[in-house]
Subunit: 120 residues, 2 copies
């Protein structure tokens, strides 16, 4: 075991690292967004998943406006230290369209097929 | 339903999109790597997951040298069209370290803990 330092991660030239959120119960992959080192620290300290919004250029505490929070269960680093995987407890829809997951469009057979409707 | 065109995806300024591979049976998240539009097309056409290697600047048919191939089960696009999720049948280890998944290091409690050993 060694102490974890968020600054030991490999960030891209914008200082960001991709973070995948996976449902800790169903194992469904919910979404992928970006974090900077401070967002990683805040996520670990608060237990509330906090991304960096590239469009708004600000911290984005998931669910702060929608109520669709992500509570961190565990955070993992990949072998290259340039990608994060988080197991989370997701309240409501992870996707801004109201769907449980952002990955609701299947394209395997040459056509785009929506796999689920928005949650009520 | 509408026909899927890989060029309708949103690529970054290097022409790449992140692609997450998830085991279609265990739902374990195995790895994240990058694709360009041609890699997406080849993956769909051949059923063999094909990334774009940023370090080698060439196509990377997963498993071509290691034997640890990824056979595509389904490919999904996220709501923003800037990330892909693939359900795959993974032969052997997904990680170049010989571990089943690249996400074998947990950092939740302030220390880095390896969750698994390399496969034999």
């Amino acid at each position: 075991m060694s102490a974890f330092d968020p600054n030991s991660l490999k960030f891209n030239d914008q200082g960001l690292i991709p973070a995948i959120a996976q449902d800790a119960t169903s194992y469904e992959v919910l979404m992928m967004a970006w974090m900077n080192a401070e967002a990683v620290s805040r996520t670990l300290e608060t237990g509330r998943v906090t991304y960096w919004s590239r469009s708004r250029q600000s911290f984005w505490v998931k669910g702060d406006t929608s109520g669709h929070v992500q509570d961190l269960v565990s955070l993992r680093v990949d072998c290259d230290r340039d990608c994060l995987l988080m197991l989370v407890h997701q309240t409501g829809a992870a996707c801004h369209t109201g769907r449980r997951t952002c990955f609701y469009t299947d394209v395997t057979d040459g056509s785009e097929v929506e796999l689920m409707a928005p949650m009520i």
